[in-house]
Amino acid sequence: MQERLKELQAEALEKVSAAIDLKELNDIRVAYLGKKGPITEVLKGMGKLSAEERPKMGALANEVRDQITQGITAKQVQLEEAQIQAKLAAETIDVTLPGRPVHTGNHHSLTRVVEEIEDLFIGMGYTVAEGPEVEKDYYNFEALNLPKGHPARDMQDSFYITEDILLRTHTSPVQARTMEKHEGKGPVKIICPGKVFRRDNDDATHSHQFMQIEGLVIDENIRMTDLKGTLEVFAKKMFGEEREIRLRPSFFPFTEPSVEMDISCMICSGKGCNVCKTTGWIEILGAGMVHPNVLEMAGFDSKKYTGFAFGMGAERIAMLKYGVDDIRHFYTNDSRFLKQFSIHE
């Protein structure tokens, strides 16, 4: 009997080891350990054994069961693992295939420039002021020290609708309107972005419509050094910390003194290249101290208040920053152009 049990154990374990799937393994379990299995059969002969041998044989039978059970369990783990591996192998994909695209659009390059500048100045305590694209001659010119017949009106030939109404030629009328609203009380600290219009034929460097961004600060004791410091912060944030600025005297009817700001060329760092026409400097914007006539016309006491203003073209900034070579791209809205401005450095 003892031998028979040993035999059965060896036989069962051999079959377990040869099993190739979970079903076969289960069949083996039922065949050897089931109620009708050979071990139960063998144990039926226990009655013939002596009282002494009976518990020994019982223990042996249990051990054989345990051995077989253990063998089956181990094999089961092994087969299950193999099954998972096989499944995983079957599920393998080419991870280098492209992903499912997420379609997102992005800001127009000019909006990108405008928002960057807005945010920069908001950080310095400015608010964003906007105004109409169609303006009264008064706000566009007269309130800015450009009376009718002023020679500087030549500089910005305009689209008139009637004698007194025109498409604004700059965003300065927003400054005039904002000042008027302040009723002679400072401080005023605004940044004014918007579309402006001039009678130019559209070509690579001219556009009858373009985007301007102006800034205005009025308070007691605003000095030209404040303008210089503010423009320096702007230039470094927009074009890089290593930029230097240079103020050149210039003329605008609404400021006195007036300056133009150049930055050291970001392409050649001042050594001279095409972009800066070998001067090492690139003209970025016009600025100056608000003309006393402009202050007075808007109701500010020019003895008490001073201020500075600056203005620039968003297209020019974008052209310099991104190397765009034709201003018409900004208004053609070619998909292949629009899509290039999705990356945020």
Binding site: G105, V134, Q209, K228, E256, H291, P292, D334
Partner: protein, 804 residues
């Protein structure tokens, strides 16, 4: 203004300063030097030669074989094709080995079998602009005066060994439209003196007053008129140095008399005009406004019709010049002229600007008058011209001038404190430093303690107020020397307005949803302007448009976005999705500003889902764009206030368009572009929406409050309804929501069937209803009660029956 470096040296000592260094200094102190041109740049080996022999080329009609003496007595054979080449001329010869502009190297050559050892040059070949070459030489080679020395450098003989600074003048610096003005500026920058010309004229005994009388009717426009008479002039070319100075400044030489008037214009900034006295037709000058419809033929041979806005010089009867702009052909100085009537006048800017603008005629003279000339140079300029006319035209100047003078010349006197200067500039200059700067400009400055009393010369008409002096001090002190500070005062918190913030959110959302931002023009064509407009108004027209295509203000954004789609689709871009935020313009009363409204529009066409390797492709449809729009309303907290109703509008597909309402207010539309329009634009199915951004962003929304997260399960019931084809989903869901009571938390369509298996005129639409009570777990009974109400209401109000 073009400034010859050599010429400038006559007035200011420039020793030790190169033209480039000078340009840099001028730019930094106030006038942008836009370029420095070297007139003889890239030219080598051009000498004065003598054409000793000329004979026809045996095998080329238009060529001549010339034997040219280059000064060493030997003859060099050169083939020349210029029609005016002739024996006995002194000419500019590019010798073998010479280099001409454009790196054109002269080599030994054979032309039709004959040797040619060099080239006889035209001025154009020597780098002159064609329009600046005197008429005599414009079609051929240049011929030197007979006394020119052989073998010398031809460019030096032409005074081209010079550099020209191109000044970009701002309108306030009219003073620098003259060499003397530039000299004052440069002297101030360098801290040097100005050497002024000292006109000295010898006169003959006859008196100008016996030859001419001057009357001015329009004294407001012409407060000072000075006439001089010069007899016995001999018209000839002016000296080469004088021609060279005109050419360098961009003025074409004509003859000695005309050249001298132009020379004085450049030197003093005072326009002069020379009339042929004998052709004047009278002994009188009368300055007046033109009669309406009066005509004059100007020197450019154009007949011009005049109005009473235009100031004219007449001979008492007919106009002989358009004052301050251009002379008349009837009194033009020509080869036969012997007596010259010289005009030096002060015309006001406004009068001249009007003439110049109306006739589209900008001359060197009008450019100066428009910006203002120095009233104190009118007489000296006339004297100087008279002097040169005796020197270079052999003229005899008659005694005296004939003048009409109602001009009051008073230099501006401005007082300013040093504190004011320092307060504006942010500097701490001493009064002595400021005085020194002002005196360098030759502004007479008297100091009393901290106050300066400054007398501004009349040449600087732009300096009228304290701030102008602040600028003069600042720019010559140097802006490089200013410190950098930031505005002090009370700190203010910068921010966007709620509207501006929300507009940014709208942009970000739409971009996240796959749309690109476009920016298009506010101007459009009249025939397109009213398409897709939300409000019907007549478009606002420009008074003087540059083209029909940009002649009126837009009433909607959609047509522009469709143009963009058309542009892209014509370039094989098969999917475009764009949006724009921008203003539209509604006409109001005449001479009032239009109502400007900000709109939001989008347009999409082509494939929406494009996942190439997995084979998924889906063109855009109505619900793609509507989904984007609903997402936007959701984002803005407005979805519950929005309804869509079927809508017909020109340019839209009548069955696939909806008007969008915010509560009771229409805020815009969404729809498919009408197939006819799609065809016209060569577009695939295209969907658009346009909304009033203002109505959208100004709408009131409930403040954001936290809502408890559900602690109890919800119960979902799905129903399939059979309804009339015409019953809208919105009508059904409205009934469901109203009937469902407060337990009904969510309703959405999950299926739609309109196929053959439906009864004619019917469709099946399936809804999923979610019931939920935040306070407790719902029982079946609760749900049945609510749900039955819904079904009943549906049946009663829409005739819907449950699909079996």
């Amino acid at each position: 203004m073009y400034v010859s470096y050599k010429w400038l040296q006559e007035y200011v000592d420039l020793s030790g300063i190169t033209p480039e260094e000078l340009a840099e200094k001028i730019t930094k102190s106030g006038i942008e030097v836009e370029g420095v041109e070297t007139l003889d740049e890239g030219i080598k080996g051009v000498v004065v030669g003598y054409v000793a022999e000329k004979e026809k080329h045996p095998s080329a009609d238009k060529l001549n074989i010339c034997q040219v003496d280059l000064g060493d007595g030997e003859l060099v054979q050169i083939i020349c094709g210029a029609p005016n080449v002739d024996k006995g001329q002194k000419v500019a010869v590019a010798t073998v080995g010479a280099v001409l502009p454009g790196n054109f190297k002269i080599k030994k050559a054979k032309l039709r079998g004959e040797a040619s050892n060099g080239m006889i040059c035209s001025l154009q070949e020597l780098g002159f602009e064609s329009k600046l070459v005197a008429k005599d030489y414009s079609e051929g080679i240049y011929v030197f005066p007979a006394d020119t020395e052989l073998g010398t450098n031809a460019l030096e003989q032409l005074h081209r060994d010079d550099q020209v600074l191109e000044l970009g003048l701002t309108p306030n610096r009219a003073d620098c439209q003259s060499m003397l003005g530039v000299a004052y500026e440069v002297a101030a920058i360098l801290g040097k003196d100005v050497k002024l010309p000292q006109p000295r004229v010898e006169t003959v005994s006859e008196r100008a007053a016996d030859y001419i009388t001057v009357n001015v009717e329009a004294a407001d426009d012409n407060p000072l008129y000075v006439a001089k008479v010069i007899k016995n002039v001999k018209i000839a070319p002016s000296p080469l140095w004088l021609q060279a100075r005109l050419t360098a400044a961009g003025i074409r030489p004509h003859n000695n008399v005309v050249d001298i008037t132009n020379y004085i214009l450049l030197e003093y900034g005072q326009p002069l005009h020379a009339f042929d006295y004998d052709r004047l037709g009278s002994k009188e000058i009368l300055v007046r406004r033109a009669n309406q419809g009066e005509k004059i033929t100007t020197l450019d041979d154009a007949e011009r019709e005049l109005t009473t806005d235009h100031l004219v010089i007449t001979n008492g009867e007919v106009p002989v010049a358009l004052a301050g702009v251009m002379g008349g052909a009837n009194s033009e100085v020509g080869n036969e002229t012997t007596t010259v009537l010289l005009e030096s006048a002060y015309f006001t800017g406004g009068a001249i600007r009007k003439s110049s603008k109306d006739h589209g005629l900008r001359s060197e003279a009008s450019a100066r008058y428009e910006k203002g000339v120095d009233p104190q140079r009118v007489r000296p300029a006339a004297e100087r011209a008279a002097q040169l006319l005796t020197q270079y035209a052999g003229g005899e100047v008659l005694e005296g001038s004939v003048e009409v003078d109602t001009l009051k010349v008073e230099p501006a006197v401005i007082t300013i404190t040093i504190d004011k200067i320092n307060r504006v500039l942010g500097t701490s200059l001493l009064v002595s430093e400021a005085k020194d700067i002002l005196e360098r400009l030759q502004f007479t400055t008297v100091v009393e303690e901290n106050e300066m009393t400054v007398t501004v010369p009349t040449r600087r008409g732009d300096i009228t107020i304290e701030e102008d002096l602040v600028e003069e001090v600042g720019r010559l002190y140097g802006y490089d020397n200013l410190a950098s500070t930031l505005p002090g005062g009370t700190a203010s918190a910068g921010s966007l307005t709620p509207y501006q913030k929300k507009r940014r959110i709208v942009r970000q959302y739409l971009e996240g949803a796959g749309l690109y931002q476009a920016i298009t023009y506010s101007l459009t064509s009249e025939d397109k302007a009213q398409n897709y407009s939300l409000e019907a108004r007549d478009p606002i027209k420009l008074a003087m448009p540059m083209s029909e295509e940009r002649s009126v203000l837009r009433l909607s954004l959609t047509p522009h976005l469709l143009e963009v789609l058309k542009y892209n689709s014509a370039r094989q871009i098969d999917a475009t999705a764009i949006y724009e935020t921008g203003s539209i313009f509604l006409r109001t009363a005449e001479n009032e500003l239009p109502e400007e409204k900000e709109h939001l529009a989008a347009a999409i066409t082509g494939l929406w889902e494009l996942h190439q390797w997995q084979g998924e492709k889906k063109p855009v449809d109505f619900f793609v764009l509507k989904g984007i729009l609903e997402g936007l309303f959701s984002k803005l907290g407005l979805l519950e206030q929005i309804t869509f109703t079927k809508f017909e509008k020109d340019g839209l597909h009548p069955g696939r368009s909806a008007e969008v309402f915010l509560n009771e207010t229409s805020i815009g539309f969404i729809g498919q572009v009408h197939p006819n329009v799609e065809k016209e634009l060569d577009l695939k199915e295209t969907y658009v929406f346009e909304l009033s951004l203002e109505k959208l962003l100004h709408a009131e929304i409930k403040p954001l409050r936290y809502e408890a997260i559900p602690r109890y399960p919800s119960i979902t019931r799905d129903i399939a309804l059979v309804v009339d084809q015409t019953t809208t989903a919105q009508a059904l869901s409205t009934v469901i929501r109203e009937a469902g009571g407060k337990l009904l938390k969510d309703v959405h369509v999950f299926d739609l069937y309109e196929g053959d298996r439906m009864e004619e005129g019917k469709k099946s639409i399936a809804y999923s209803l979610k019931y939920f009570d935040p306070e407790r777990t719902l029982t079946d009974e609760d749900v049945v009660k609510a749900h039955d109400k819904v079904l009943k209401a549906l049946e009663e109000k829409t005739g819907a029956v449950l699909r079996g």
